[in-house]
Amino acid sequence: MKWFTALVFVFASTVVYADGVKLSGPTQPQWKSECSGCHIAYPPQLLTAGNWQQLMGGLDKHFGANATMAPNDSKAIQDFLQRNAGSGDKHSASSLRISDTTWFKREHREVSNKTWANPAVKNRSNCTACHVNAERGDWSEDGVRLPGR
């Protein structure tokens, strides 16, 4: 019974919520390896299924880069994204940029323009500039380290 209780606490501690949205969550091998080649693999919950479908259908024009991959990898990643996508307007962006969603703007409403302009941050897609342990699934507010401090 003690082991079970300990396990429950360990599991609970790995789950992080932000505005009701669970961030540290499911992973999938191809998603992890293909989507973290140039940036952190953004949690699937942060865009809608429709957004992800559009994004995955245009990987040759991926925000100025070419992110094309083998069809079987693309299919596996698409399935994973569809199963775990966010829903509702708050997670939707016609630009397909997570930083344009109302959810993102709300979560980051206290971040100053000065911080966004800091060369160590560079742009809103650079999560790990402040969310220093995000690659390990830690998106907690406690884990944020603003650059220059």
Binding site: C38, H39, I40, G64, A65, N66, T68, M69, A70
Partner: protein, 138 residues
Amino acid sequence: MSAKKLCCALLLLAGMNQVFAGDTPDSLVAGYVAEASATTPGFTVSGQRGKSFFLKEWGVSDKMPTCNACHGKNLKIEGKHVVTDKIIKPMDPSVNPERFSSSTKVEKWFKRNCKEVAGRECTPAEKADFIQFITHGG
């Protein structure tokens, strides 16, 4: 599990890394040379040409004007993605043995990066020259 069984399992796993990532820089160069020779008989690989190719300013992409915009000019140290700031591990296999050990990976990145920087796929000759430059100088 006994120590002996554990040792055997670990040795097997270590060996498997070679089996699955079966390519080497030289075997990849040889493969590209063979492809290039099919269209250009008598083709010989050149690290010097590979160096010029790597440093060339292609004039296609504002954000990614050259290969070294992300990889840096010194391939024995880390590079940084010019847009996302993501750290890119060194390209030189003498420093990072993972490099040029898988033809699937190499082909994938050539396809992406050549299209971004050069605006087209790289030819087998260019791929041979580039890997030759990294591993044997130019």
